[in-house]
Every structure is written in structure tokens, then in C-alpha cells.
């Protein structure tokens, strides 16, 4: 969401039905032009297969069950890696945001580790885990850890100290203070971390699956490349995009639900 988007609009009466369709005009036009370019032979099918060919390849893979199985494997890896890395990142973010001692003990170390691009660890990870499941999970978890950690920590540290003082004056216990002031105050920042993490999650998984895997979407794409099945390659890429979009939409829906108090999410 751009900043401009979130600004309240002045005037501009809305046409509710048409409004929902507007975002789809451009993608549809692109697919249409793509199809035309392929049918007229302007783009040779060795370079880029027509959307209809991609759809057909998808249909065949769907019938054979291969598509669902690979999507499921990738989805499973993404979720488990995300839960592990995100969970640990969240826990460290909370601990270091709330406790000076914990922050002194671990923050510098974590900030140093952060400077290692996690994908640079792939050769090492393959040596450690082979092309086992744990290799992919490890990489995804590591990639997801930092955005969640950093944004949780930032969120907690930037909660308005005047509100915290108010909570103390009104006799909130530490638990209440966390539940009613600190956590809700940190939530917008935590969501920023969540959205970042989801992006990194897919990126890591794609790379890990194309390099070291024997199942999953990335593996399917690499196999297809060996057999020159370019329609399947394009299909895998599109599915990755779709899954990424889905994850993003889900996190946005959650955000709208929990941040309904935020002026940016209030609609008349």
C-alpha cells in the first residue's frame, strides 16, 4: 500500500461494483496482449508459451495430481519454516524489547548475524543437511527470523512512553500493561515485519527448491527446464506469484481486522 493510497480521498463518489474491478484491468490487458503476441507469432513459443498453453499444462498437471502435490509440499515448507523462524524472531523481539538484560545479552549478536545474507549459507546448509527437508526449513526460518525480530523489537521500543506511564498511573500490572498498551502499540510495526517476512519466505523457498530439492514447485520448474517444458516453467513462476499474493492478502485482512482502530484503516 502506498502512502497516497491510505490518504483519505476528497469528494470522488464511488461506484462500488466497478471499483472492485479496476485493479484487474491491467493484469487482464497484459494477459490479452501476451496471448495476442504468441498467437500472431511475434513471440516464438520457445521463448514464451501462450497463456492458453500455460493453462493447458496446468490442467494436465492438475489431472495427474503432480501439481497439487508439489504446491502442497511447497506450502507446507513455507508455513513450517515461517512458524519456526517467525516464532523465534517474535520471542526474541518481545524479550529484547521488554528486558534490558536480554537485549544487552543477545541484540548485538543478532545484529551481527543479520549481516550475513541467509542465501549465502546454501552451500553450507547443503553440506549440513543434504537436500533434506530440514535444509529448506532452516533457510526459510532464518530468512523470516530477522524481519519479524527487528520489527517486533522496534514496535515495542517505540510504544509511546506517555501511554506506558498512563498505564502505570492507573495501576496496570505488568501483564495488563503488556496486553493493553505495549502489544497493541507494537502491532502495526509487527505487521510490517510480517509482510516483509512473507516476501522473504517465498524468495528463500524458490531459491532453495530450485537448488536442492526433490519435490515442490521449484523442483517442478527445474525438472521442466531439463525437459524443455517451458510452459510448466512459466506455470510454476505464476503459481509462486499467486501464492505470494495470497499470503499478502491474508496478512492484510488480518491487519484490517486487528488494526481497525488505526486512522489509516478507518472507513466511513
Amino acid at each position: 500500500m502506498s502512502l497516497i493510497d491510505s490518504l483519505p480521498r476528497v469528494g470522488a463518489p464511488k461506484l462500488p461494483k466497478v471499483d472492485g474491478l479496476i485493479p484487474w484491468i491491467v493484469p487482464l490487458a497484459i494477459v490479452l496482449i501476451w496471448q495476442l503476441a504468441c498467437v500472431t507469432g511475434y513471440v516464438p513459443s520457445r521463448v514464451l508459451p501462450a497463456p492458453t498453453d500455460v493453462a493447458l499444462a496446468g490442467w494436465k498437471l492438475l489431472l495427474s495430481g503432480e501439481l497439487v502435490r508439489n504446491i502442497w509440499v511447497s506450502f507446507w515448507r513455507a508455513s513450517i519454516g515461517f512458524v519456526i523462524g517467525g516464532g523465534i524472531g517474535f520471542a526474541f523481539g518481545l524479550a529484547n524489547g521488554l528486558s534490558q538484560l536480554s537485549a544487552k545479552l543477545t541484540d548485538t549478536t543478532l545484529q551481527m548475524v543479520r549481516n550475513i545474507p541467509h542465501l549465502a549459507l546454501i552451500p553450507l546448509v547443503i553440506l549440513w543437511f543434504g537436500i533434506d527437508e530440514s535444509a529448506k526449513l532452516f533457510l526459510v526460518a532464518l530468512g523470516v527470523f530477522f524481519p519479524i525480530y527487528l520489527n517486533t523489537l522496534h514496535g515495542i521500543r517505540t510504544v509511546d512512553p506517555q501511554l506506558i506511564e498512563m498505564g502505570r498511573i492507573y495501576g496496570m500490572t505488568d501483564g495488563e500493561l503488556f496486553r493493553r498498551v505495549i502489544f497493541p502499540g507494537a502491532l502495526p510495526s509487527i505487521f510490517v515485519g510480517l509482510r516483509f517476512a512473507l516476501g522473504i519466505m517465498w524468495l528463500t523457498l524458490i531459491v532453495a527448491e530450485t537448488i536442492a530439492a526433490s519435490s515442490g514447485l521449484g523442483y517442478m520448474a527445474m525438472q521442466a527446464r531439463e525437459f524443455m517444458l517451458i510452459d510448466v516453467v512459466v506455470l510454476s513462476i505464476l503459481i509462486y506469484a499467486l501464492l505470494g499474493k495470497l499470503a499478502d492478502s491474508a496478512s492484510r485482512a488480518l491487519e484490517r481486522l486487528t488494526l481497525s482502530w488505526h486512522p489509516a484503516f478507518q472507513k466511513k
Binding site: Q162, L163, E165, M166, G167, I169, Y170, G171, M172, R180, V181, P184, G185, L187, L259, S260, W261, H262, P263, Q266
Partner: protein
């Protein structure tokens, strides 16, 4: 005018005529009012931040139920004094004693910023003010009553973000009032409001103070506000109480009346002289 103006030396016995005025009013108000406000005695109060001696010996007695305004130049230590009274900071030396041992919800503060939780509806924000009694069965009913008291009964389900500045400050007032405090300290609560909203908020403050009979301590930079609302105006200078003026005018006071203007002028003159000395 002469009647109304009474300067008092700082070292005088703390029991002064203001005590009698207040007691008389409380008799009129009835026995319930008389037990509400807590009296307050401050002795030799000092507060330093490092080398910066902000308060250099404050001696003060505030009788139960009195409305005291504190004025002084920016940075003279008004907020510091208020925070000490509210127990938010610890004094460097000296003591603050209440007439009775206050419970936590007996002393409340209101700040210049409303400090509402943006993620809680107006009513839950008021419920925060109940402190430990938040989970009692009548919590919601009490919060609703406090909201009605400040004239915002119909906003109970709104998010704070949609309220105007004055409305937010009224919610903050309801939150401070809901536990029926016996001492209410205000740190420039109206400082950020426009002139008209200020005046209606001042009237609201005066009304709830008269209804509930708490001891009110109002820090303000607006001398006109101080003389319009308070029984007594304290001027702080160089970390001490430089002037202690009893405002013995009947209520409700008419804004812009000659007596108020004269008192305001007197106090302002003193404040300005003080600032010339230091230049």
C-alpha cells in the same frame, strides 16, 4: 478588590483563612462533600535533576477540597511539583503528606495530552481509570456515568481517533473522575485547546469539582484561567512559592469581570517583574 487580594508570607502558619472559606463551603455542600477531598501538607520539598535544583524548598498546606492553581514561568518546576504530588517521581528531600493515607485511586493526574489508548473504544478508555476495580461488576456502569458527566455519553463506542481535541480531553477527564479521586492534579490540561473550547472545559472542570468536592491542583500558564477557577493561586519562582494569592470571589465567576482582571493584572505584574530581574 482589597478584600479579595491577600498576600501571605511563605513562612506563615499553614492554616490560613482559605481553610475557613473552604470549610464553610463544604458545610454548605453537605457532609458527603466534606469527606471527599484530601488535604495536603508539603514540607521542605526539594527536587534536583543532577546539578539542576528545580524545587528549592516548597512549604504548602492545601486544605481538603480547595481548588489551587499553580502558575509560573516555563521551566520553573510546576510539572515537577505536580509529579511529586502525584507520586510519579520521588522528591530529593522533604515530605508530602495527605490528610489520610490515600488509596491508589484517590490521587489522579490529567496531562496536557489526553493519553488515550488509540486501540480502545472511548468507554474502555474510561474503564482504565478504575484501576484495580476495572474487573468489578459495575465497572461499565460507572464508566458510562463518568462519560455522561462530561457530556460524551453518545461517544462511548467511538475510537479516540475520531474525536476532536476537546472531546479527547473530556474523555481523559472522565477517566480521571471515574474512580472518584480525592485529589485531582491537572498539568495544563487545556493548554492545547482553542479559546472557546478552553472556556467550556474550564466550566466543566469547575462543575465537576463543585459536584465531587475533590482537592484540585491545576498547573496552568494562563493566569486568567487560574484566577477564574481557583480558590487560591500560587506563583512559583526560583524553586519556591513566591506568591500565595487567595481568590475570594463568589462563584460562578463572570469571565472578564473587573475583579478578575485586577487580580490577573496583579499576578502578571509580579511574574513579569520576576522575569526582568533575571535579565
Amino acid at each position: 478588590m482589597q478584600e479579595a487580594l491577600r498576600f501571605q508570607s511563605v513562612d506563615a502558619e499553614p492554616i490560613d483563612r482559605a481553610d475557613i472559606v473552604v470549610q464553610a463551603r463544604q458545610l454548605r455542600r453537605g457532609s458527603e462533600g466534606a469527606t471527599r477531598g484530601l488535604s495536603l501538607t508539603i514540607r521542605g520539598l526539594r527536587k534536583s535533576f543532577g546539578d539542576n535544583e528545580v524545587l528549592r524548598g516548597i512549604d504548602l498546606h492545601i486544605p481538603s477540597g480547595q481548588f489551587v492553581a499553580i502558575v509560573g514561568r516555563s521551566g520553573c518546576g510546576k510539572s515537577t511539583l505536580l509529579r511529586l504530588v502525584a507520586g510519579l517521581d520521588a522528591p530529593t528531600a522533604g515530605s508530602i503528606a495527605f490528610g489520610e493515607q490515600p488509596r491508589a485511586q484517590d490521587v489522579r493526574v490529567m496531562f496536557q495530552e489526553p493519553r488515550l489508548l488509540p486501540w480502545a473504544r472511548v468507554l474502555s478508555n474510561v474503564e482504565v481509570g478504575l484501576g484495580r476495580e476495572r474487573s468489578s461488576a459495575d465497572a461499565q456502569a460507572r464508566a458510562e456515568r463518568a462519560l455522561v458527566e462530561v457530556g460524551l455519553g453518545d461517544k462511548r463506542g467511538e475510537w479516540p481517533a475520531v474525536l476532536s481535541g476537546g472531546q479527547k480531553q473530556r474523555v481523559a477527564l472522565a477517566r480521571a473522575l471515574v474512580s472518584q479521586p480525592r485529589v485531582l492534579a491537572f498539568d495544563e490540561p487545556l493548554g492545547a485547546l482553542d479559546a472557546l473550547t478552553r472556556i467550556s472545559m474550564q466550566q466543566l472542570l469547575e462543575r465537576v469539582w463543585r459536584d465531587q468536592g475533590f482537592t484540585a491542583i491545576l498547573v496552568t500558564h494562563d493566569v486568567a484561567e487560574a484566577v477564574a477557577l481557583a480558590d487560591r493561586v500560587l506563583v512559583i519562582e526560583d524553586g519556591r512559592i513566591a506568591q500565595d494569592v487567595t481568590i475570594d470571589l463568589p462563584r460562578p465567576r463572570r469571565r472578564g469581570s473587573a475583579e478578575l482582571a485586577a487580580l490577573e493584572g496583579e499576578i502578571l505584574k509580579h511574574l513579569l517583574e520576576g522575569s526582568e530581574d533575571t535579565q
